[in-house]
């Protein structure tokens, strides 16, 4: 096994480290903690955060890439497959490898297209049995019973896990707050915890049950069916999570420094600095974003073609294109936040204490770091969470236009793009579109609800007026 660190992997983990650092920093400062405590009080936001957490965990697992060692390679000089896998692939093993020939409906046992099957030398055109989906069953009559059994088993397992978790949580929390176990449970039951314990527990239980049921079903069937080349749609949808998350987060990572530095600089220094920055963002804003993105994607392609030795695997090629997409989307989307920060800085610089600091000859960098930045930080945070869902949705549209991620990459945009033709079939192949829709919707809805919570807690204008 040879670990592979793709560009986006490195950045994703850098981001994780940065977030961890930020969390530690915030925990040490009382006044920074307060609004977060406000977020934690909102049931909707906490439920959404849990769902997001599941997505993030899958995305992170999918960011640990490696190349498998070829089975018969000599020990002294190991050789590796060109296929780049991830920890997630290893975890879900059969989901990836169990490929059918072509379409099959969710939980089906037969292909969705008729084929010639040899019955004792006579070619009959019928729907052939799947290689893996429901292969453990003798006849189709057993399917319903088997499905019910698996769902019930999965549900029970999920519930058990959820109860176990709740018990552990109760024990831990009770010890923390020096309560008895029962007291805590009562407080939990009546909603008197100070945080939305019931919502969290319910969401947790739902997630656990859902996961357990899916795992139970996936071991015997293709839960969401298979696509045109027989790949499991559940697997494709899960793999697409990483793409969506990477686009949503890394783009912001590109946006932030540009927006913060240029926005504050324009507002704080005014004069020619302001003119130049305003010029730049007016120019960028005047050009349709799709066009800039198309150009960037093409530039990356030229770069790849002129340096083929740097990108020896398909994954590396797709990855660099994804990164380019993030960068260019960042470059086109910093202007909104920058303008906001500029306006805010313009106001802040006229405040008494800032003027006083300037009069005392405090350096600009110090004033900005001490007085300006902390006062606009909440705007930055709100922008991050609000932009995330928009970016995830944008990916789908870009893939449709043909300037999105690599066509070989797993992404919801590519799934929707492919599903366009499937809708023209009769009977309709709906599951690929449906799966992309469901996953995207869940992620974006969770992100939006969470963002709402964060905004309400941080923005003094809107907060508390519900």
């Amino acid at each position: 096994m040879q670990p592979v660190i793709l560009w986006t992997d490195a950045l994703v983990f850098a981001l994780v480290a940065a977030v961890a650092g930020l969390v530690l920093f915030i925990r040490r400062h009382e006044h920074l903690c307060a609004p977060w405590a406000g977020v934690a009080k909102r049931p909707m936001a906490m439920g959404a955060a849990l769902v997001l957490a599941v997505f993030v965990v899958i995305g992170l697992l999918d960011s640990l890439h490696y190349r498998e060692r070829l089975p018969d390679s000599p020990p002294d000089k190991p050789q590796y497959s060109v296929e780049v896998l991830s920890a997630f692939d290893a975890l879900v093993g059969p989901l990836r490898t169990q490929q059918e020939k072509t379409y099959s409906a969710p939980l089906a046992m037969r292909l969705y297209a008729k084929e010639f099957v040899d019955h004792d030398g006579v070619a009959v055109r019928e729907y052939p049995r799947l290689k893996y989906g429901g292969a453990h069953l003798e006849s189709e009559a057993d399917r319903r019973a088997d499905l019910v059994r698996r769902v019930l088993l999965g549900g029970a397992q999920g519930l058990a896990i959820a109860l176990l978790l709740l018990g552990a949580l109760a024990a831990w929390q009770a010890r923390c707050s020096r309560q008895s176990y029962g007291e805590w449970l009562v407080a939990f039951g009546t909603g008197g915890l100070g945080w939305p314990g019931r919502t969290v527990a319910t969401t947790l239980a739902l997630i656990a049950i859902m996961l357990a049921v899916v795992i139970q079903l996936a071991s015997g069937y293709h839960v969401l069916g298979t696509d045109k080349v027989g790949q499991d749609v559940l697997y494709i949808s899960l793999k697409s999570i990483r793409t969506g998350l990477v686009i949503g987060t890394l783009t912001t990572l590109v946006t932030l420094p540009l927006a913060i530095v240029l926005g504050i600089a324009a507002g704080y220094f005014r004069g020619w600095v302001d003119d130049v920055i305003q010029y730049v963002y007016t120019v960028l804003n005047s050009i349709p974003g799709v066009l800039l993105i198309a150009a960037a994607v093409l530039i990356v392609q030229v770069y790849i073609e002129s340096n083929p030795e740097l990108f020896d695997t398909a994954a590396a090629r797709a990855d660099i294109r994804l990164l380019a997409l993030c960068i260019i989307m960042g470059v086109t989307s910093w202007t909104g936040l920058a303008r906001l920060l500029r306006g805010e800085s313009l106001k802040l610089r006229t405040l008494d204490y800032v003027e006083a600091a300037r009069a005392f000859g405090v350096s600009h960098s110090r004033i900005i770091g001490r007085h300006i930045f902390p006062n606009v930080f909440h705007l930055v945070l709100i922008a991050i969470v609000l932009d995330f869902s928009g970016l995830v949705l944008a990916e789908a549209v870009l893939s449709y236009v043909g300037v999105g991620v690599d066509p070989g990459m797993y992404s919801w945009g590519n799934m929707i793009n492919g599903a366009r033709l499937e809708l023209a079939r009769e009977p309709v192949v709906w599951w690929q579109l449906g799966a992309a829709f469901a996953f995207m919707f869940t992620l974006v809805l969770a992100a939006n609800l969470f963002a709402d919570g964060v905004r309400d807690a941080f923005d003094p204008r809107v907060g508390g007026r519900r």
Binding site: Q301, I304, E305, P308, G408, R420, L421, R425, E426
Partner: protein, 716 residues
């Protein structure tokens, strides 16, 4: 809120119902439902309608109906046969040696220095009505001395008040041949034709010089001489060809050699014309059965019957099958059989297919994804329409296209290229592994035939059945052609020096690169499929997707390794396929069409002999030798010959796929009454969703309304 919603609903339904009667979804508002018209679609807007420039199928679809070259293909006869269109007869070349002496027909091609084609056109053929021909009472052209201001108010050709016509003369054909050399037109066949037509290259150089000398001034082609094309009399002209080039007759059936009246060019080169899209590229002037009446490539192109058409009649010859299919029912009737043809722009598949099913398009190709809905296979493997389709009266038309898809190996590549035996084996192994039977069944729903060599069925040199199989990839089981088992491929791979996909000496895995410009909904699945195929050999494949320009660039520089490519025949002759493998036509270095850069001296020698020969046993023998070489060397994986499956509605008659002819619209007949009935029957609007929507709106608003009233009362 309630009121707005209700109002919108009322206005919406009212207007809908008011303006279009029963079929609310009719995309042709304001058109007579019973008009004798053909309705179809175009997916990509044509770029050029100038016959000197248009080459792609979507352009020829229009130019073929409007312009008339001297020859055409017989509508019904197979194999394809050239017959005269505007010519009196199919010309027979006369041969001359270098000293200008006439040679007999049997002369060896090496001795022939020049072939002369003398073409007589029929008198009395007249152009479509067009303002370029309009003359006033004193015989002066009305619209040949216009100022930009005169053109300003005009949006279409129909806005010119007067039109005229004139008889077709031989000079118009010569004029067009000269236009092929015009630098401003960059005709796609100029390079090719200047190798064949005497003096064309020189004319091109002279025209270029003249353009440089006077930039911005239109060239008067009549002032230039072309040695290879001369007018003999009003209805006869002569073309001189270098050496022997029997395929030239096929070119004479393409719009490139259609007549262009000089009046049109003078008319369109006036100031202000180009700004209003009045150019030959957009407003054709022809003698054909139709003229372009409405030209809006963003929406709709409408062809209308040319009132001056010369009275061609429906063919009377055809075989028994044609007669049985009713294709001879109209024999002898004057063409064209429909009054107009409406082409709508339709870029997306779903709307296209839906509108066909709703009866708004007369015919449709079937995309692979609509296939299961339309077609099923009978027990013996014949495609048949599903019952649902048959109930609608839809008919299926199938034909094998004269084209070929292949996966090319770059023969200059250090890993897979070269003619050494082990490299041949490597390529053969890959040829076996790429299971195109499966590909055809997954991606094409059986609409293709696995290829056995470069020559598709219907072209001279193709051998049907077991006799024509490619022995390196297939074997015969009785009368069936069966792909060799993957074990054979593994064995070949081992012999090529890569046992189990590893380099025999170093143990390095064999990694191949597949270059593609595939994009679009299907691309990912197809690329996954190819990876899966080579995975069977334990060969690792890296797909390098890129855009059109980059792909072309790689092919040109020879940086690709494996790539997918296709070829569509220009004319029904094996030369048009074998030249893709001819060494001197290599892409790298000479910029030719040989994208695989295959260069086998033996093959080249045979090709040079084969290309000028007349069809016959001798030519067949040489072709078989060439096939043997190509199959052994395997510079291509011969993938498949695509089959076209077309559907047409019951009301469309006289459809027989003809892959060479492009002017078949004139034979088409429709039954407008039947069509109007069916459309009304199939498009009854379903109304309950509107009612449901209205109810939902009411349900949404009522509680709010009630709460508001309660609130008001409380406040008061």
């Amino acid at each position: 809120m309630i009121r707005i919603g209700a109002m919108l609903l009322c206005v919406g339904t009212g207007l809908l119902a008011g303006c279009s009667g029963g079929d609310w979804n009719n995309p042709y508002p304001g058109r007579d439902a019973q008009a004798n018209a053909v309705y179809s679609a175009f997916g990509e807007r044509p770029k050029h309608l100038d016959p000197a420039r248009s080459y792609s199928a979507n352009e020829v679809e229009f130019t073929g109906q409007i312009y008339e070259p001297p020859l055409q293909y017989h509508f019904l006869k197979r194999p394809y046969e050239l017959i005269p269109l505007t010519a009196e007869s199919v010309p027979k070349p006369r041969y001359f040696d270098a000293a200008g002496r006439a040679l007999p027909d049997s002369a060896p091609s090496a001795a022939i220095a020049e072939s002369v084609y003398e073409i007589r056109i029929r008198p009395g053929i007249r152009y479509q009505p067009h303002p370029a021909f309009a003359q006033d009472d004193s015989g002066r052209y009305r619209y040949h001395a216009m100022r930009a201001a005169d053109v300003a108010g005009k949006g279409q050709i129909a806005d010119f008040e007067y039109t005229g016509t004139r008889e077709l003369v031989a000079a118009d054909y010569v004029y067009q041949i000269k236009r092929l050399a015009h630098p401003a037109l960059s005709s796609p066949i100029f390079g090719l034709m200047s190798e064949h037509i005497v003096g064309l290259r020189e004319l091109g150089a002279a025209l270029e010089k003249a353009t440089r000398a006077q930039p911005g001034r239109p060239l008067d082609l009549n002032a230039f001489q072309l040695a290879g094309a001369e007018v003999v009399d009003d209805h006869t002209y002569r073309i001189r060809i270098k050496g022997k080039y029997p395929q030239f007759l096929y070119w004479l059936a393409m719009p490139f050699f259609a007549p262009i009246p000089w009046e049109a060019e003078v008319f369109y080169s006036q100031p202000g014309m180009a700004e209003h899209n009045f150019t030959l590229d957009w407003q054709p002037v022809g003698t054909g059965p139709f003229y372009l009446a409405e030209n809006d490539p963003n929406r709709r192109m409408v062809l209308k019957k040319n009132p001056n058409f010369h009275g061609e009649t429906y063919p009377t010859e055809g075989d028994a099958a044609d007669r049985a299919a009713g294709l001879l029912a109209d024999a002898g009737k004057p063409l064209p059989l429909v009054d107009e043809a409406v082409f709508s722009l339709e870029k997306e598949t779903i709307p296209y297919w839906s509108k066909f099913l709703q009866g708004y398009y007369d015919s449709s190709g079937i995309s692979s994804d609509s296939f299961d809905q339309a077609v099923q296979f009978s027990a013996d493997g014949d495609p048949q329409l599903t019952d649902a389709m048959r109930d609608k009266g839809i008919r299926l038309i199938t034909s094998v296209q004269t084209s070929l898809w292949y996966v090319g190996f770059n023969m200059l590549d250090p890993v897979i290229g070269g003619l050494a035996p082990e490299r041949q084996k490597l390529r053969q192994a890959i040829s076996i592994a790429l299971d195109y039977e499966e590909f055809i069944s997954i991606f094409l729903n059986g609409r293709g035939i696995p290829a056995q060599g470069p020559i598709p069925p219907g072209i001279f040199g193709h051998v049907e059945g077991v006799a024509g199989l490619n022995p390196y990839v297939y074997r015969a089981e009785g009368q069936r052609i069966v792909r060799r088992p993957i074990g054979d491929a593994k064995k070949l791979l081992a012999e090529a020096g890569y046992p189990n996909g590893r380099h025999a000496r170093t143990g390095e895995p064999l990694v191949l690169y597949f270059d593609t410009m595939a994009s679009g909904p299907d691309a990912k699945s197809r690329l996954d499929w190819i990876k899966k195929q080579l995975g069977k050999l334990n060969v690792q494949l890296v797909v390098r997707g890129t855009d059109y320009n980059r792909f072309q660039d790689k092919i040109r520089k020879g940086n690709a390794q494996l790539f997918e490519w296709g070829w569509n025949a220009d004319y029904p002759d094996p030369e048009n396929f074998f030249f893709l493998l001819y060494g001197p036509h290599k892409k790298v270095g000479s910029g030719g069409e040989n994208a695989a850069n295959y260069d086998n001296p033996e093959f080249n020698r045979l090709f040079e002999r084969m290309k000028d020969m007349d069809n016959g046993p001798e030519r067949q023998a040489i072709i078989e030798q060439m096939l043997t070489i190509v199959r052994r060397d395997a510079p291509w994986v011969f993938a498949y010959y695509p089959k076209s499956f077309g559907l047409r509605h019951d009301w469309v008659k006289n459809v027989k796929p003809n892959l060479m002819a492009n002017n078949t619209l004139k034979y088409r007949r429709v039954d407008p009454v039947l069509r109007a009935d069916k459309r009304a029957e199939w498009n009854r609007p379903v109304l309950w969703p509107i009612a449901l929507g209205g109810l939902a709106l009411v349900a949404l608003v009522t509680p709010a309304f009630v709460a508001w009233r309660r609130h008001e009362r409380k406040a008061a």
